[in-house]
């Protein structure tokens, strides 16, 4: 694996399977009475969050703590960042404190790349969501969840060869969609992005995916369907006429869910707008693996931190 995890595209098929298999082993830890391994004892993981995201931060925090790492949560709000400190100075400060890994969430696309490439920190940089760019650990947990449901025997050692995954919603602004498109392609799945034309990026025709403007035609072949959160502020920017029209054309309700194959699962990266992109009936149905995604998220993030900063490889390299 590369030193940093900035993009789902950084992972080879072998890297990705290694992360997923490691996560499968670590998932067991959560079922134990004592949910802790000594693997990252003495290592420092900094959660550097420039954007509010309680879900992702506590997931990374739980992951690091279950590996016995020291965790520093650095939230931009109420910190020196809100007083105008630059990313560079923040990074230099963390470097001086000896961060082994920096988990960064940022409202600007590419901020983790800057942190990793500009030489401001020696630690491994993990992208925990940057602007409208990528969210690679989300894609890993989604792939993990799909693999455990769709591949024989829980999928350990396997990829997602030949599985059809439909991702629906605001692809243009979605870091989840970008990372999933890259990772699922690497793992051999067939990805279909479904959205109104206004919410597909220019150049999507060159991505390794199919695209469709019609949700209904994409249902019957789907092994997994992922509904993306639609930000309500998009409505004021004329991406679609009204919430109701969006919901009618691109929302997943019971009628549509019933047209999915029997084995198909429903995913959502959260937080959901119930009644907008997904109805409550669907979200709470037996098809929904949304809560399981959260559980798997901790295991996948444990695996990423373990492989980037914990393994024997690092010590052998003396880093």
């Amino acid at each position: 694996m590369k030193k940093h995890l900035l993009s789902a595209g950084d992972l080879t098929r072998e890297d990705a399977i290694r992360v997923l298999d490691t996560a499968a082993e670590l998932l067991g830890v959560a079922q134990r009475p004592i949910k802790k391994l000594p693997t990252l004892r003495g290592r420092t993981v900094v959660n550097l969050f420039f954007e509010d995201s309680t879900r992702t931060r506590i997931s990374f925090e739980a992951a690091a703590k279950r590996l016995s790492a020291d965790v520093i949560n650095f939230s931009a709000k109420g910190s020196s960042v809100s007083k105008g400190e630059s990313l560079k100075d923040t990074a230099l400060t963390l470097q001086a404190m000896g961060a082994d890994a920096v988990v960064i969430r940022h409202h600007f696309s590419g901020a983790p790349h800057r942190l990793a490439a500009a030489g401001w920190t020696n630690g491994a940089v993990v992208n925990a969501g940057d602007g409208t760019h990528e969210h690679p650990t989300q894609a890993l947990l989604d792939a993990f969840t799909m693999r455990s449901h769709l591949m024989p025997g829980g999928g350990v050692g396997a990829d997602l060869e030949g599985k059809n995954v439909t991702i629906v919603g605001d692809v243009l602004h979605s870091r989840v969609a970008r990372s999933n498109a890259l990772l699922l392609h690497t793992l051999g799945a067939n990805v279909t992005l479904v959205a109104p034309p206004t919410l597909l990026p220019v150049g999507v025709d060159t991505w390794p995916v199919e695209t469709s403007y019609d949700l209904d035609e994409s249902l019957e072949k789907a092994d997994a369907i992922m509904m993306l959160r639609v930000q309500r502020e998009r409505m004021n920017a004329s991406y679609f006429p009204t919430e109701r029209e969006y919901s009618r054309r691109y929302g997943l309700d019971t009628t549509r869910m019933n047209r999915l194959p029997d084995h198909a699962i429903v995913l959502h990266p959260g937080p959901m707008n119930r009644g907008m992109e997904i109805t409550a009936d669907v979200a709470d149905s037996g098809r929904s693996v949304i809560v399981e995604q959260v559980t798997n998220g901790v295991a996948v993030r444990m695996a990423v931190l373990y492989l980037l900063v914990g393994g024997a490889t690092n010590e052998e390299e003396g880093s």
Binding site: S86, L87, H106, R114, A117, V202, G203
Partner: protein, 434 residues
């Protein structure tokens, strides 16, 4: 009374070697084996002699952002790039929208003495896009302004643009438009295309430039005025300007050196050194602007030299400032992209980097004139056989935001003469008496 110089064996416009005699700021003789008693000899064997370059689009940042550039440092950088005249853009603080500010900038240029500074006046008060600035007062001022631009912002209001185009006819002015439809580019960070889609950066579509270029060409034709299109960057814009010229309309256009060379692929590392407005476009656009510059659709090369302090580039892409410096690399980039590729001769380079920009701005002072007996001695000596690796610190500018760091580029300015006074000799800035 300036000193006398005898330039030996210079290849004027890349032609056969000849001598050039300069006295009292004027070219007094051209020919083989000249004699000039008491003259300082400058050996120009192997060097190309070009008329002093004229930049129609320079950000000198003074007044207001003297941390990024001053008139002195900016004109020193210009001299090192072979320029004898630069046009200072109006987006200073305060904005150059009154006779007072343009006269201040003009006077600072005279005091610096490295390069003539011709101020550009704002079209609208405070670049606000709502009320015409006192264009006539700036034209009548000591700064003698003929070019008006809200550069950095587009005069997007069609009525206001029409009025500006009409109004400047009274003093043979020209409106230089920064063509950017504002609604289509809200929050825009880079060219809209394959790369922006992958990187998740808000796109700046070519259509936002082309829509304004097309509208302004039609408006200029309707009112019979002169339009200049700043830093044109897309294939579509080239085609629209070509069409407008085919109609006989009085439309001119410029391209920057960086749009002749760099593409939006460079954005992939999110290094804001490549963040610029208009954004770096695609390889197809680069090909189109080179063709346009070669066939004369694009009249001139202008640098859009845009200095920024380090901290405005050492940050996240979306937080960074737009712009790159370019005065000291412009001629090298033009050689690399246009001359070494066979698209332009040195005579055509002189047209596009000296004569045409001087004509568009109606600037006096003997700028844009050929190297000929009786003309003001604005001369550049350029070693087109040299190569150099660009290092950001090797600049007279206060800023370091060059996109060419580490790149090997051909050519080197050896000497620049402004009215017979060397501002640069042996590649080094000279003491200049202003």
């Amino acid at each position: 009374m300036s000193e006398q110089y005898l330039i030996r064996n210079a290849r004027i416009l890349g032609g056969e070697p000849t001598d050039i005699a300069i006295a009292d700021g004027v070219i007094t003789a051209i020919g083989a084996d000249l004699d000039l008693n008491g003259a300082i000899e400058v050996d120009a064997t192997g060097l190309v002699a070009l008329p002093g370059l004229v930049d129609l689009h320079t950000h000198l940042r003074e007044p207001g952002r003297e941390d990024a550039e001053t008139v002195l440092t900016g004109t020193q950088a210009a001299a090192r790039g072979g320029f004898t005249c630069v046009h200072a853009m109006a987006n200073t603080d305060p904005v150059a929208d009154t006779a007072g500010v343009v006269e201040q900038v003009w006077r600072l240029g005279r005091e610096a003495g490295f390069c003539d500074v011709q101020p550009i006046g704002a079209v609208t008060v405070g670049l606000g896009g709502t009320q015409l600035a006192e264009l006539g007062a700036m034209a009548d001022s000591a700064a003698d302004v003929r070019v008006f631009s809200d550069d950095g912002k587009c005069v997007s209001d069609a009525v206001l643009m029409r009025r500006a185009l009409e109004y400047v006819k009274a003093f043979d002015g020209v409106v230089a438009q920064h063509a950017q439809e504002p609604r289509l580019t809200e929050g825009a960070q880079m060219n809209e295309g394959l790369v922006s889609g992958e990187l998740g950066l808000t796109g700046w579509p070519a259509a936002a430039e082309e829509a304004i270029v097309a509208r302004d060409c039609v408006l200029a034709a309707h009112v019979g005025s002169r339009l200049h299109v700043c830093h044109l960057s897309t294939r579509g814009s080239v085609e629209i300007v070509r069409w407008a010229k085919s109609k006989g309309w009085d439309v001119t256009a410029e391209v920057t050196p960086h749009h002749l060379l760099l593409t939006d692929d460079l954005v992939r590392g999110y290094d804001p050194i490549y963040k610029v407005n208009p954004p770096l476009r695609t390889a197809d656009d680069v090909e189109a602007v080179r063709e346009g510059l070669a066939d004369g659709t694009i009249d001139i090369v202008a640098t859009d030299h845009a200095p920024h302090p380090m901290e405005d580039k050492e940050c996240e892409w979306s937080a960074a400032a737009f712009g790159m410096i370019g005065l000291e690399t412009a001629l090298s980039v033009v050689q690399h992209t246009m001359v070494d590729t066979g698209l332009l001769t040195w005579a055509q380079v002189a047209e596009r980097m000296s004569a045409a920009p001087a004509h568009i701005s109606r600037v006096g002072g003997g700028h844009g004139r050929p190297i000929a007996v009786g003309e003001a001695a604005h001369v550049v000596l350029y070693d087109d056989q040299a190569t150099r690796t660009i290092t950001p610190a090797d600049t007279a500018s206060l800023s370091r935001n060059t996109p060419y760091a580490g790149r090997e580029l051909p050519g080197r300015v050896v000497a620049t003469f402004l009215r017979g006074v060397p501002t640069v000799l042996d590649g080094q800035l000279q003491e200049v008496r202003s």
